[in-house]
Amino acid sequence: MAEDYSRYIDLDEGWVDRSIFHDEDIYQAELRQIFARSWNFVAHESQLPRVGDFLTTYMGEDSVIVTRHRDNTIRVFANSCPHRGNRVCFADVGNTRRFTCNYHGWSFNTAGALLGMHAEYAYDEKDLDRDQTRLQPVAKVDSYKGLVFATFDPDTPSLQDWLGDYRWYLDMLLDNEEGGTEFVGGCIRSEINANWKFGVENFIGDAYHVGWTHDSGTRAVTGGQPFPPADMTNSYHASVNGHGWEFGLDGFGDIMVLGSQSILDYYTGMKPRMSERLGQLRSQIFGSIASGSIFPNISFLPAVHTFRTWLPKGPHKFELRTWVIVNKAMPDEIKEECAKRVMLTFSPGGLFEMDDGENWSNCTTTNKGVVTRRQPLHYRAGLTRQIHDHPELPGTIYRGQYNDANQRLFFQRWADLMNAESVTELPDRRGATPAAARI
């Protein structure tokens, strides 16, 4: 009988079983049930501007190549030769017309189709089906306002449905100005001995840790001032399909974190345009102290301009990949300033990020203790603070930024995927769609 993963999550009472951060069998099930069936983030379109551009990444632990093929579409396929399984691409990024395996010289084009191999006379005509022998493609590739996603499962709902009304929130990150966004060049990667979900659940809703974990970073950038208390009336958790965004309404808190007058001036100047584009409410949300995660493993701080994925590397390790996301319309000097300030605050050496890794690491490793592991984790903040009457905010809404609501709803979605035999049978977790938020 299939395991019921709902037993690890007590949504009503707010408890989460520590096994989901430790157990090898659960981790293997996550790779099959979640990563092999979800829409995984694979690239920003700006990383692949020209035909032949490629990058390599992972969907779960499956190594994949992402290319711009000569028909200008983005293709995603396994980075593993069908002959003996070797990797066919060892570069992180580049531009090419073919990927050639180092082992026997099997060569594939930027759509993954077989082009040829070393000493082709080794094969008689019947030995080799040239159409079927290829780098395994993913089932579907789609993009939303610059972010490219892929899924291995042909039954996974469309990306539009998967994101649902979360797009109302995502547009604040991806479409707050004419022209959309791009990634600054380069990627910072680090390896942390922690379960991947600790990164996701932190960004999906844990505004609460900032004032304590990041006291040192806050005081460093403010000249000694602590983090301001949360306004528990005018701040929210919003969850749609397991994706979450926590935010205030002050419009500038996160922009201040970067500590740059020129970036502050830029946003002060463009906020009226953002308000016209996205409405008054969203121009107040953007820039506030906020964070978000797209299920299963993509996170960002909208006005801090950091965007990242938590790539699973076993139950007790992930690789963190971070990028800087900026508006295309920004002048070059503002883009450069954003990159510098993100590096100062939210990179492995950043004033804020520096203190996160050790917490997540120890949240993971303490669970080696069999008795320790029996104690469930406390996710009870804001159990009764759900509201149903907000006129504009789509999704499941809780009041108060210091809240575990988005985290609980992330774990609910986690259990949905872990339990579902088919992704077509996922429960409805969209929440409300107020008329004002219809896309």
Binding site: N95, G185, S190, S216, A339, P348, G349, M354
Partner: protein, 181 residues
């Protein structure tokens, strides 16, 4: 722009200068290892660029050189104010991931000194092996190369005007980068 490494060697540095630079690098390492950050900052020029680019694996056939483009992502891309902000964080008393303190040892090797067109500036190459260990057995080894510009200030001291750190890793092998290299 001519890359620093292609710069012609105009003359040989004196043994005295070699020894002075070497001792300066060792002193710098000792100040960092013993957390005397404010004293270390006094060894930096006010116009310092402290830079450690991100690393990409690219094929040899790819001519892109991203290692000296400061508009790209970097582990460090700091001016003196940013470095002072980092030191300020360490002195707040609430930098939890430094309490108990991390133990560091910087080993500095392969030191070369070159004279430049300016009589008061020296190009200095060195390698570092930085071991860090904290709590029970949390440990990392960070290894890489450095290319510095040291300047003699009006008082006759050597100050660091520029440092480019080239890490040997592409994925940082650790939970954070809490160390100056």
């Amino acid at each position: 722009m001519t890359a620093m490494t292609d710069h012609p060697v105009t003359d040989r540095p004196s043994l005295e200068l070699l020894k002075e630079v070497e001792q300066t690098l060792y002193r710098e390492a000792r100040l960092l290892d013993t957390e005397q950050f404010e004293t270390w900052v006094e060894m930096l020029a006010e116009d310092i660029h402290y830079y450690m680019p991100s690393v990409e694996n690219r094929y040899r056939s790819d001519p892109t050189d991203t290692s000296k483009d400061p508009s790209r992502m970097a582990f460090y891309n700091d001016d003196i104010a940013m470095i002072r902000t980092r030191v300020a964080r360490l002195r707040t008393g609430t930098a939890w991931s430094e309490d108990p303190p991390t133990r560091y040892t910087h080993l500095i090797t392969n030191i070369e000194v070159e004279l430049t067109d300016r009589p008061d500036e020296y190009r200095v190459y060195s390698n570092f092996y930085s071991y860090r260990n904290r709590n029970e057995r949390d440990e990392d080894v960070l290894v890489g190369r450095r290319e510095d510009l040291w300047r003699r200030d009006p008082e006759g001291r050597l100050v660091l005007a520029k440092r480019v750190i080239t890490p040997t890793w592409s994925v940082l092998p650790g939970k954070n980068l809490n160390v100056f290299l």
